[in-house]
């Protein structure tokens, strides 16, 4: 019995080491969203300067939608942009944009240069709506179901691979739902 106890510290160390080995491999910037399966925050945003398609939470109700938080000052957003353009072309899905903390005119100029995948764009100049969405940085994308609930949150740019593996299957499933 006491001989077995000799090994207790070693076993405890091994257990802690294994725990840390798993924990340290996790990406600390991945924070699970508390908004998953929660209703979309209620908001109304004006159109960005140079556009006339403002965004309200009412506009995305009843449809499976992507709500994408973007800004012209955000470098990863430019990486994500072609993928969004492709989604807008290929898919029957509503894409709404929240233009986050943008100077007037910059968002429209950026879209004029790169193309515009958005059905609606809201101007969130003071970042208040982004906080209602629990946004920590741009880009972030929310998949909303027909009942207006947030079902998936993508932090960081949607790449082709992320779209095909993680997001599109969810979108398809939600579109098949009544």
């Amino acid at each position: 019995m006491t001989r077995a106890l000799l090994f207790a510290p070693l076993i405890a160390f091994a257990a802690i080491a294994a725990w840390f080995a798993v924990g340290l491999r996790q990406d600390p910037s991945r924070i699970p969203s508390v908004l998953i399966d929660q209703p979309l925050p209620t908001f109304t945003l004006p159109a960005i300067e140079g556009r006339d398609n403002p965004l309200s939470s009412e506009y995305v109700k009843g449809e499976v939608a992507l709500i994408n938080v973007f800004a012209s000052w955000c470098i990863p957003c430019a990486i994500e942009h072609p993928v969004l353009m492709q989604i807008a072309e290929d898919e029957d899905i509503l894409i709404a944009g929240i233009n986050w903390k943008e100077k007037p005119g910059d968002g429209a100029a950026w879209l004029a240069r790169l193309g515009d995948p958005y059905d609606f764009i809201g101007d969130d100049a003071d970042g208040r709506v982004a906080i209602d969405f629990g946004v920590t940085g741009a880009p972030e994308t929310f998949v909303v179901d027909r009942k207006g609930r947030i079902r998936l949150k993508q932090v960081g740019p949607i790449t082709e691979q992320i779209w095909e593996q993680d997001i599109r299957p969810v979108v398809r499933r939600l579109q098949a739902e009544e």
């Binding site: 106890l5 600390p28 924070i31 508390v34 970042g127 208040r128 920590t136």
Partner: protein, 143 residues
């Protein structure tokens, strides 16, 4: 002398906070509450800083929200709840005591107990062999 002065000044310097003059509330009591709350809220971009310490634009937005909620008459608990509803418990720098954190909070005591228990068994063993009795018979430690 100059060097001494610099050291003294450095010793008494309080840490600089990121709060900008235009954010400060007119009511000093309310501003103090805003500061206390801000120190307990995590800047979700920088992660290891409070929103009171951080210069990140999002931290500024959150400081402004804290002040706005306080001016609107929220209690401290309501202000925390407002941000937790959006960012989760993660936004609190001090994890709340609740079922999924019981182990976290109990861990120091459990580790102390385990280590103390181990030390006790070890010391008992040492005493036993020191008294020359190895046949497993219980020996009362001499007091």
């Amino acid at each position: 002398m100059m060097r001494l002065l610099i050291i003294i000044v450095a010793l008494f310097a309080s840490s600089a906070f990121a709060v900008e003059p235009d954010e400060v509330l007119d009511d000093p009591a309310l501003e103090q509450r805003a500061l206390d709350i801000s120190r307990n809220l995590r800047c979700v971009v920088c992660q290891s800083q409070s929103i009171d310490d951080s210069d990140a634009p999002l931290a500024r937005d959150m400081r402004l929200i804290v002040r706005e909620r306080l001016v609107a008459g929220d209690t401290d608990t309501e202000v925390y709840a407002y941000l937790v509803a959006r960012y989760g418990d993660y936004v609190l720098l001090k994890p709340p005591v609740q079922p999924n954190t019981y182990f976290l909070w109990a861990a120091p005591a459990l580790i102390l107990l385990a280590a103390g228990g181990g030390a006790w068994v070890f010391l008992k063993q040492v005493r036993k062999s020191a008294s020359g009795d190895d046949d497993g018979e219980e020996v009362e430690p001499s007091s």
